[in-house]
């Protein structure tokens, strides 16, 4: 077994990474810019679904707050990368230290992620004491609060009209790198003692407490980590599509991300990846139909009905909470 795993472990991981990179390279060469952008969004969705699965799946805290953190990350990173000349024009009321700074993408994303994480920590302090669907609705409220702030805090956000003309600094490679980072983190986490503590918290908080797990801290960690990734994803997204408004990331997105997690299997990282790719592809495939028939909303109905079917007939999702064998072999170590 040990020899076997030694061979398929890290090497297989590097092989998969290489294959992914080759696919991205091939896509970039062969496909139209539109499709490449679509692929980049697909990769961001993979990262979003997987990062949501850390909290919702591994730690069992049902949050709908991802769009709120994406909005925060999107605005924060956009303001940081804007050339000062354009800021004078677009955001004349910005505090002076923000007016003169212009960061490259990577530090801007890092700062955006940190801001998202800090907000998640502050919000989590009270909110994570809530359980089940109370937590869900409170985080839904968080989306509304952030949207309200983004709409009304005009000095920082330009209000309802949002920011446009954001420099297009992201490409498919950024998104690929980010998706790899999030997936790698989530899988390493899942097969670590920390991940076990998260899953213990999910399965039975009381038993986990008795076994010495501080469930509140575990939940907080999962929530903050998810929010960090969501904020960075928002930053990547906004530098890909160059526009953000207070309504860019709203409840429908929260629903779609939850749909990806549930359809793939709550707690299964591989499941989230597959479902994120499938659902993003599906909505895109339905779009021409929507436009031809004038039936805007059709793709959303299909996603929602698909989710209901999964809940009826396969309530644990496609992959349950497990991972396929090759993933367990690579990341599982002694837990595989």
């Amino acid at each position: 077994m040990a020899v076997d795993r030694g061979f398929t472990g890290p090497l297989a991981g590097i092989a998969i990474l290489g294959a992914g990179a080759a696919l991205v390279y091939g896509a970039q060469m062969a496909l139209s810019p539109y499709l490449v952008t679509l692929l980049a969004i697909m990769l961001i969705n993979v990262a979003l679904a997987v990062s949501l699965n850390i909290g919702n799946g591994l730690a069992g805290l049902f949050s709908l707050g991802h769009p709120a953190f994406m909005t925060i990350g999107a605005y924060a990173s956009a303001i940081l990368t804007f050339p000062p000349g354009r800021k004078d024009f677009m955001l004349p009321d910005l505090p002076s230290f923000l007016m003169t700074t212009q960061l490259p993408l990577l530090p801007a994303l890092a700062v955006a992620g940190m801001i998202g994480a800090v907000v998640a920590f502050l919000v989590g302090l009270p909110v994570l004491r809530l359980k089940g669907h109370y937590l869900a609705v409170a985080t839904l409220g968080l989306i509304v609060i952030v949207q309200g702030l983004a709409t009304n805090w005009t000095g920082l956000t330009r209000g309802g009209s949002g920011l446009n003309g954001i420099p297009r600094l992201t490409g498919i490679w950024w998104c690929f790198g980010f998706a790899v980072l999030v997936v790698y983190t989530a899988l390493r986490l899942k097969f670590s003692s920390l991940g076990r503590a998260m899953m213990a918290t999910r399965e039975n908080a009381l038993a986990a407490e008795s076994a010495g797990v501080s469930t509140y801290r575990i939940r907080m960690l999962a929530f903050v980590l998810g929010a960090f990734f969501a904020a960075v994803a928002g930053g990547l997204m906004v530098h890909l599509i160059t526009v953000v408004t207070p309504r860019s990331y709203s409840v429908v997105l929260a629903f779609n991300l939850v749909a990806m997690v549930v359809i793939g299997g709550t707690g299964s990282i591989t499941g989230s990846i597959v479902a994120a790719v499938a659902l993003t592809g599906l909505s895109e495939a339905v779009r021409p139909l929507e436009e031809r028939l004038g039936l805007y909303g059709l793709s959303q109905v299909i996603v929602a009905l698909g989710l209901l079917l999964v809940l009826f007939f396969r309530p644990n999702g496609l992959l349950g909470s497990g991972e396929p064998r090759f993933v367990r072999r690579i990341f599982g170590g002694s837990l595989a």
């Binding site: 409220g141 509304v144 749909a259 805007y296 929602a304």
Partner: protein
């Protein structure tokens, strides 16, 4: 009392009436099946568009109200029988996701059929006149909303507390298994609770259109969330609590906007949801002590 303050209170009561109508059904459904029904708000939208269609056909208003109640009840029963009943006994969060999915289906089907363009929605001209009460005046629309809500709530309370059906509903809410053992047709009782709650939400939709003058397929989102908040204020699962919570929330919202300087008006929803989180933390079972016999 100055006209300004009076107007604010009437506004708050009218808005609170709408919230109360939606919140009561929400609370009944939660009380009986422990499900946060996110699709409940979309029945407000269905009620509003049903009204609009019937007005187009020139149907008289009392008939419209009857019809809207009926459509709401049927829609609620359909949702319960097709989606929620098969999922009964599933985990809390699974049920919540299902209601979210139903809401998305209703909203987007609405978008497909009706388009996202907001439609004008007007009560007849005489409803827009103002009624003089002593030194102050109020719009007839607001007074109608307040009055009709009182009538509907009174009807509901009679059903819940003075009929066999109501007793069955309260028994089922109290203990589903025991109620079944006592020979109560639990599924039918749950279906009835959905019918009544949804009918009230649809009636709120009729009034909603009259108050705000415009309707669109996504309008159910706000009342759904606000109804939840109203329930949390009053104690989820309690009819009286939902009612009071609805009125309190309506008044609080209007006073927040009316009494603070205008630049804060945009922060209305920020205020409401912060209030929600604060209440959930400090008094998670609601501001009013909940008695078991209040639930239905």
């Amino acid at each position: 009392m100055s006209q300004y303050v009076f107007q604010q209170i009437i506004n708050g009561l009218a808005l609170g009436s709408l919230y109360a109508l939606v919140a009561i059904g929400f609370s009944m459904i939660y009380g009986i099946v422990r499900l946060i029904n996110f699709a409940h708000g979309d029945l407000v939208m269905i009620g509003a568009f049903t009204t609009l269609a019937l007005v187009g056909y020139g149907v008289p208003w009392p008939l419209i109200l009857m019809f809207v109640l009926l459509v709401g009840a049927l829609a609620g029963m359909t949702i319960e029988a097709t989606v929620f009943r098969p999922m009964r006994g599933a985990q809390q969060v699974t049920g919540f996701i299902a209601t979210l999915a139903v809401s998305i289906v209703i909203q987007n089907t609405g978008l497909m059929i009706l388009s996202g363009q907001p439609r004008n929605f007007l009560f007849p001209a005489f409803m827009r006149q103002r009624v003089q009460i002593g030194t102050v005046s109020a719009s007839l629309t607001d007074l109608t909303i307040i009055g009709l809500t009182v009538v509907l709530i009174a009807l509901l309370l009679v059903i819940v507390y003075r009929t066999r059906l109501g007793t069955a509903m309260r028994a089922t809410a109290d203990n589903l298994a025991a109620a079944r053992l006592m020979g109560i047709a639990v599924n039918r009782t749950i279906l009835t609770a959905f019918a009544i709650g949804s009918a009230l939400a649809a009636a709120a939709g009729l009034l909603w259109g009259g108050k705000f003058g415009q309707i669109d397929p996504l309008l159910g989102f706000a009342p759904g969330l606000k109804a939840f908040i109203a329930c949390v204020i009053g104690g989820v699962g309690s009819i009286g609590g939902a009612m009071l919570g609805g009125y309190l929330l309506g008044l609080a919202e209007v006073l927040f906007v009316g009494l603070l300087p205008p630049q804060f008006a945009g922060y209305r929803d920020v205020f409401v949801f912060t209030l929600l989180i604060v209440i959930l933390l400090l008094k998670p079972s609601g501001l009013f002590v909940r008695h078991v016999e209040e639930r239905a």
